[in-house]
Structures are given as C-alpha cells and as structure tokens.
C-alpha cells in the first residue's frame, strides 16, 4: 500500500535527513518506525502525505506517485491520509466540535453531514461529553483523542502518527495505543507510527523498521526485531527499554532461551530440571507481550546433571543460543 524506493531527502542547509530509504508497508498493518531524535523519522513520515518532498527516490501510495501530485490531487490524497502529532496540533481558538469538524468543512461537507459525523467520531474516541469545551480545558490524553477523531473525520485509509504519545505519561500512552490498536482492527486502518520508544513498538506494532542516520538498518516483524536484533543500533534501543545490557558472570554453560506463543505458559524449566537433574540459574530475563502475542526470553546458567540432555530438551520448546 505504501511503497518507498531509494528515498533521499536533503535540506537546503545540506543536512541529509534521509539517505536511501526503501520501505514496503502493507494494507491493514500497524507499522512502527523507531529511531533516535535526528534519525530522520519525522521527515520520513511527512513524505507520506506530501508535507515534505523527497530530493530523490519514489514515494507511492496505492500505486499513486506522490511527486506527481500538486494542488487538488495532493489535497485529495491528504484526505485519505490522517495524521496526529506530538503536540496534538489542535486549534486553541475552536471548540472540540469545531476542531473535529474542520477537515469536513475543508472537504466541503454540508452542515447535516457535519452534525451527524462529529458526534459519532467523538463517541468513538470516548469524548462525547466534551464537544463544547476548548482544547485548553482537556488533559493531554484527551487532546490526543481529539486529534485522532479529527484525523479520522474524512474516513482515511492510512493514519500517520508523529511521536503521538511522546508528550504523554505511561498510563495515558497505553490507553492511546490501545485505541489505535482497536481502530486498526475495527476499521482496517493502516497505521504508520514513528517513535523513539521500544515500548510503543512492542505494544501496538506488527512490523517495525529501525532508522539510523537516515537509513533503515533493520526491518521485520516486531518479534524478530525485538527478540533477535541484528543491528547494533537496534540492540541499543532495546537495552534502553529498561534492560541492563551487562550480563551477570556465571561459571558454567550458558543458554539464551527464546519462547513464543503457548510455550511461554508451560512450566518448561522445572519439568526439564526434574527430568535431567540440571538446575537452572536465571541470569537475565523478560517475559511479556508483543502486541497480542506472548514471549519470554531468558538467559540461563546450567548447573549439574546432564546439561547436554537439558539443552536438547530446551530446544524442543524454543530457540536456544549459547
């Protein structure tokens, strides 16, 4: 649905924000783009609705090349691509109702349609009672919900999220991400989300690309990238996600066990310990969810018994790396 080919973007001051990006984003997926500030994420997401133009390369949405668009063609495309922002981008001088109605008014919708559609959108994001308020009277999470309602007003196929939760506290972030996940499932909305937080990618994304210095250094399913990172930049981002990168010293054989799906809920370690006589020391570990799937990843020290047999048994439940 979204296709980027060898996209470059250099600014007038000579700074190269993007240096050859290829990306393929499928209809109906939640696609994360993660990277540090300055990696080019904001520029990349703005190419997808023509707020920025590439200096070279191809950007296509549903086969339509964006660089050929201007005037009415570009405005028509923008009505199909909603966008939400870190600072929400609401109009402080307008009520919540008028903020959500704005894209409809710009698209030339009549009064009856606006009067029907806006309450529907506000109800969808849980703000039905706030229509007459002004943005300054709302909390950050509520403001982002208004932003989402406004972005959905013209029934877009794609929603772009520019650090949409970076200004929010962790609890509000979770509720906004849950809303985005619901919209993706219920409306089949394709979501492209940029963030610098691995936590955001883990909670809501299906696939992810890691952007570093204007290039995609790694891309794939969130489980692959998160559990089996290949690029050093990806590992660094994961380590920042509440992990201590320094392993504990253990005198004996080590195994890194990765479990996904049902295996996470099986009593794997105790069963193998009973069967082989090998005891396990847990040196590092994390257990949790990637969007809706469960995962566990443990670094184990093996002690006593038949360690070879224990390693073989571990391999039957998940991946083992030494």
């Amino acid at each position: 649905m979204i296709h980027l080919e060898n996209v470059h973007k250099a600014f007038a001051n000579g700074h190269a924000a993007l240096a050859g990006v290829d990306l393929e984003i499928a209809r109906g997926e939640v696609f994360g783009i993660i990277g540090r500030s300055g990696a080019g994420k904001s520029t990349l997401v703005r190419l997808l609705n023509g707020l920025e133009r590439p200096t070279a390369g191809k950007v296509e949405i549903d086969g339509i090349a964006l660089d050929g668009l201007s005037g009415e063609g570009l405005r028509a495309l923008r009505r199909r691509v909603g966008m939400i922002f870190q600072n929400f981008g609401l109009l402080g001088s307008r009520t919540i109702f008028d903020n959500v109605a704005l894209p409809l008014r710009i698209a030339g919708a009549d009064k009856a349609r606006i009067a029907a559609r806006v309450p529907e959108l506000l109800a969808r994001v849980g703000l039905a009672d706030h229509r007459a308020k002004y943005p300054a009277q709302l909390s950050g999470g509520q403001k982002q919900r208004v932003g989402i309602a406004r972005a959905l007003a013209t029934d877009p196929d794609i929603l772009l999220c520019d650090e949409a939760t970076s200004a929010l506290d962790p609890e509000t972030t979770r509720s906004i991400l849950a809303l985005l996940g619901d919209l993706n499932r219920e409306l089949g909305l394709t979501i492209v989300l940029i963030t610098h937080e691995m936590e955001v990618v883990r909670q809501v994304c299906d696939r992810v690309a890691v952007l570093h210095a204007g290039r995609v250094v790694e891309a794939g399913s969130v489980a692959d990238v998160f559990l089996r990172p290949r690029a050093a930049e990806t590992r660094a981002l994961i380590d920042e996600d509440g992990e201590d990168a320094r392993p504990l010293a253990f005198d004996g054989p080590l195994a890194r066990l990765t479990l996904q799906g049902d295996a996470v809920l099986q009593p794997v370690l105790t069963r193998i310990a009973r069967e082989t006589g090998t005891d396990f020391v847990i040196l590092d570990g994390r257990i949790g969810r990637l969007r809706d799937a469960s995962f566990g990843q443990l670094t184990l020290g093996l002690s006593g018994g038949n360690t070879e047999a224990a390693l073989a048994a571990l391999r039957q439940h998940g991946e083992v790396a030494a």
Binding site: R46, L51, R78, G82, N87, F88, G89, L90, R94, L160
Partner: protein
C-alpha cells in the same frame, strides 16, 4: 478655576479632540486593512512556510524596515507630494492620514507576522495534512489562532498612531498635538499643554483598556 486655565479655549480644544479622533480612526482603519494582508504575506513567504520565497520575503522585509527606520517627522515631509496626490491636500485631517498609514502599516504588519509565528507548527501541519488550501489555512486556522496576538498588535499600533497624530500636528494637521505645540510650547501656555496631554492620556488609556478587553475575550485558555 477659570484663573487656572485662563488660556484654554474649550471650543478649540473640542475641535482639536474631534480632529485627533478623526485622524486616529481613519488612519487606524486603513493601517489595519493594509497591514494585515502585508503581515500575512510576510509570514507566508518566510522560510519553511507554504509560499516560501526568498526574493519576495527579502524585498518585503527591506521595504518594511526602510519605512520603519525613517523618523516619522521626516516621513511627513518627504511624503507631501504623494499625500497631495492621494488626499488632495497635505493639510488638515485628510492630509495627515496618508503619512500616518504609511508610517504605521509596516509596524502593524510586523506585529501580525510575529503573532502568526506564535501559532504552533504542529497546528499548521495538521491543517495542511487535512487537505487545506492556503486560503483555508489562512482564514480557518492562522488568523483565528493568532487573533489575540493580532488584536494586541492593533492596540499597540493604535497607541503609536496617537503619538504620530501629535507629531503630524506640527506640520499643519491640526488636532491636540497641534494645540500642544502652538499654544502649550511656543506660547508658554502651560495650562493648554496640561489639558491636551491629559486628553491624550485619557485616549491612550481608553484604547489600551478596549484592546485588553478584546484580547481577553478572544483568548481561550
């Protein structure tokens, strides 16, 4: 009482008040009407905005700075031929309005531009991302969002115009400034000076209060 204000001719003061108000009203209206679009243009052509254009923006900035750096009293004199062309005379209320507008409109345009710069970058992008035309962007987003700042700028401009009208009085425009100079200053009639300055002060106070009220009315925080 009459002993204290022996030199004050109250009917002349009344006429001067009316002249000052007429000059202020006429020039303020035209200043706002010219300065607002000029300020919007300064903003839209500046780097990073929808009509960014180095030549237009640089040219406008130079013209604005040029007009703002000419002392108003000089502007009054250099403009006389143009004033006669526009107003038919360089004297009286009508003759004062063209130089007042030329002096104040660039100043107001800068204040409008500054107010527009205060509009959040994400807000502008959000409206563009909806598929807005530049016209939509200006009338549905930029001007409503910047309205409190623009009104505050209009207040400052109106007060600057009050002092400009006093200066215009020195070259035959009439009004309270003219009385202050001719009688208060040149004939040492301190009482006339006091009355005119007090009236100008009342005018400035009223303008500031009205401006503050408008700004408050349109601020949603």
């Amino acid at each position: 009482m009459s002993g204290w204000f022996a030199n004050v001719d109250w009917s002349e003061i009344g006429q001067a008040c009316l002249d000052t108000l007429a000059m202020l009203g006429g020039s303020l209206l035209l200043t706002l009407a010219l300065g607002l679009p000029l300020g919007v243009l300064l903003f839209l052509t500046s780097p990073g905005q929808v009509w960014q254009n180095r030549v237009v923006s640089g040219g406008l900035a130079l013209a604005v700075n040029l007009l703002r750096s000419v002392p108003f009293i000089i502007l009054l004199i250099v403009m006389i031929p143009l004033t006669v062309l526009l107003a038919g005379t360089s004297l009286g209320v009508a003759g004062a309005i063209p130089p007042l507008v030329v002096g104040a409109a660039p100043f107001f345009a800068r204040l409008v531009e500054t107010a527009l710069r205060e509009v959040d970058r994400n807000t502008i992008e959000a409206v563009q991302a909806m598929g807005a035309t530049t016209r939509d962007l200006v009338f549905r987003a930029l001007l409503p969002e910047a309205l409190p700042g623009i009104l505050a700028g209009a207040t400052v401009t109106a007060i600057a115009l009050v002092s400009f009208t006093a200066m215009a009085g020195a070259v035959g425009a009439g009004g309270l400034g003219d009385l202050a100079i001719r009688f208060g200053y040149q004939r040492f009639q301190t009482d006339v000076m006091l009355v005119t300055v007090a009236l100008l002060l009342v005018l400035v106070q009223l303008l500031q209060m009205a401006g503050d009220r408008l700004v408050r009315h349109f601020t949603r925080r």
